[in-house]
């Protein structure tokens, strides 16, 4: 046993074995795995997107996962929200998620928030984390989250799904690109939310569970890239996934008036 190293991000023998396939990657390695262990990631919503995000980030060894959701698990969630199971119907989603995360990886610290994000609590909760992941299911939360993350300067990995389509991007509007231009924010893609009722929710329009799995897993990948510095994060690019056609498309966007 080598649990004697007192650095909070030092990796024990069991952790080194658990994360061996990360550590062998030059882009991550032991240093990257320690960054993952040190990281505090907040996931908004323990639903269709949140389930794969939380599962893969837990397995990847993120040190602290925050989960915010005010809902309980219902039977119609289980077709896609694979972090919950039949036995967790009726439980608070954050508690069901906590149990799943700890089953996957007991090294993760889970912080649960049984509430909805609102104007009052958003900045305080978000500022306590390094990176935020959007797995919410409504425009009001999506815009509040994007605006608050921009204001308190936290990177936001955001994805959304509808029926057979998904979209994903990474937002750091408080930073500048290599040429000194400020990076774009969510409102540079979609300036204003559509009026209530114009765009159907998943409950109204339907959603294939595997689609939330694809998009949530892509979100988890972007989080791991942001923390370890591996590769090029999906900043200033919107990734679109058209599941019916099996087609990925990338759209570049910038911060610009007009």
């Amino acid at each position: 046993m080598t649990e004697t190293n007192t650095s909070p991000t030092a990796l024990s023998d069991t952790e080194l074995e658990r994360y061996a396939r990360h550590i062998v990657l030059p882009e991550i390695g032991g240093a990257g795995q320690q960054k993952l262990k040190k990281a505090r990631v907040l996931v908004i919503g323990a639903g269709g997107l949140g389930a794969p995000v939380l599962s893969y980030l837990a397995a990847a060894g993120i040190g602290t996962l925050g989960v915010i959701d005010d809902d309980t698990v219902s039977l119609s969630n289980l077709q896609r929200q694979v972090i919950h199971d039949t036995g967790s119907v009726g439980m608070e989603k954050v508690e069901s998620a906590r149990a799943s995360i700890l089953r996957i990886n007991p090294h993760v610290t889970v912080e649960t928030h049984v509430k909805r994000l609102d104007e009052e609590n958003a900045a305080g909760i978000i500022a306590a984390y390094d990176i935020v992941v959007d797995g919410s299911d409504n425009f009001a939360t999506r815009y509040l989250l994007a605006d608050t993350c921009a204001a308190v300067e936290r990177p936001l990995v955001t994805a959304a799904v509808g029926r057979f389509d998904g979209s994903l991007t990474v937002l750091k509007p408080f930073e500048r690109d290599g040429d000194g231009n400020p990076l774009p924010g969510y409102r540079h893609l979609f300036p204003e939310p559509p009026p209530a009722g114009l765009v159907p929710s998943c409950a109204e329009a339907g959603i294939v569970g595997a689609l939330t799995g694809v998009m949530g897993t892509l979100e988890a990948m972007e989080v791991i890239k942001l923390i370890t510095g591996a590769g090029e994060p999906l900043i200033g690019r919107l990734l679109l996934y058209d599941a019916l056609a099996a087609r990925f498309e990338t759209v570049k966007y910038r911060r610009r008036a007009g």
């Binding site: 919503g45 998904g166 979609f190 300036p191 939310p193 765009v199 929710s201 329009a205 759209v251 570049k252």
Partner: protein, 65 residues
Amino acid sequence: MKLTVNGEERRVTATTLAALLDELDYAPDFLATARNGELVRAGERILCTLDEGDRIEILSPMQGG
């Protein structure tokens, strides 16, 4: 003119992105549009002229998670 709209080949008469949305019966508000992989803002669509073979994406905002 032949375009690829959301991955599907379409033959259209529109010569600007704004006219294309009209021709294809999209309500233009709240959509994101892109031509050949670059976002085109709502205010720029009327000046965005289309060329044969352009790849156009018309994206409705999604809220699901």
